[in-house]
């Protein structure tokens, strides 16, 4: 099943929700509040959300975007769910390293590995 929101492309694999951004500038300061709202709606619609956010094609983000991701991560945890991030370019991954948020988020190289970690519960392939 696939549904297209204005700024997110959402697909489902069983009970796992996958999100991609529809524009590479999506995590710019000007868009982030709207993105946060849309991600919140997705999380709150699930009993125990299992969510993968793919950063494929995203070429920029700000500290406001990081704050929004932390908020989403907390919402997912509060509902006893799990969040995985993947497809993060080296340049953007560097921002996670600088802020040490790579230790807070579960980040995987690709959607495939993120899916596998949710299905098996293993952390194999997790980026550190």
């Amino acid at each position: 099943m696939q549904q297209d929101a204005a700024r997110l492309k959402v697909t489902r694999e069983g009970d796992i929700v996958q999100v991609e951004f529809t524009s590479r500038k999506i995590l710019d300061e000007g868009n982030i509040a709207e993105i946060g709202d849309q991600l919140s709606v997705l999380v709150e619609a699930e009993h125990r959300p299992r969510l993968i956010i793919s950063f494929a094609g995203v070429d920029h983000l700000s500290s406001a975007a990081l704050g929004t991701l932390i908020t989403i991560n907390n919402k997912v945890k509060n509902r006893d769910g799990q969040l995985r991030l993947c497809n993060i370019s080296p340049q953007i991954y560097e921002v996670f390293l600088i802020t040490k948020l790579n230790t807070l988020f579960h980040i995987y190289p690709t959607v495939k590995e993120a899916l596998e970690s949710l299905r098996s519960g293993s952390q194999a392939g997790r980026l550190k």
């Binding site: 710019d28 300061e29 000007g30 070429d59 920029h60 700000s62 500290s63 704050g67 932390i70 802020t99």
Partner: protein
């Protein structure tokens, strides 16, 4: 003994000093993010014309966004009557940008470390860390209501390497 700081580059002091001269431009705008983005894009556009590479542009966009957003949100508290002033100078070698707000300022020395375990869950407070990580120099005014960012052009050819600072003694 007097000390005078000169900008010295690989082609000699005089030429490098001339090359380091660029026009300072000033933009003043109300505390709105859309206005901030307009100025940010204007600066980045000029940097592209000066052959700054993708990595430099990523760094500049990130730091400018943090500085301008801080000025609007934390400095001016989004007050419509308060302006942000951005003064910038772009040469092939370096970009200097000063972002000033009309707020009361803050002391960057007392900011909590956002990378400390106990602060990782905080949803804000990473802007200054990112500015310092991505810029060659970040200087806050004593009043704390303006910040000056400096970024060297890492994409310059060897003959256009960033200027080094040489201290020359007189007398």
């Amino acid at each position: 003994m007097k000390h005078l700081k000169l900008q010295a580059g690989p082609r000699g002091q005089r030429q490098s000093r001339e090359k380091s001269v660029g026009l300072w431009c000033t933009e003043e705008f109300p505390s709105e993010m859309s206005e901030g983005r307009r100025v940010e894009e204007k600066i980045l556009s000029q940097c592209r014309k000066h052959a700054y590479g993708q990595r430099d542009l990523f760094a500049l966009k990130l730091a400018l966004e943090e500085a301008i957003s801080n000025a609007i949100r934390h400095g001016n508290k989004c007050t419509p009557g308060k302006n942000v002033r951005v003064k910038y100078r772009i040469t092939r070698q370096r970009v200097d940008v000063m972002v000033e707000d009309e707020g009361h300022g803050f002391d960057p020395a007392v900011l909590p470390d956002p990378t400390a375990d106990e602060n990782l869950q905080r949803t804000c407070g990473r802007g200054v860390l990112l500015m310092r990580a991505y810029m060659n120099n970040v200087v806050f005014s004593p009043a704390g209501n303006s910040v000056t960012l400096t970024k060297f052009n890492e994409s310059s050819s060897s003959s256009d390497t960033p200027l080094s600072t040489t201290t020359v003694a007189f007398g």
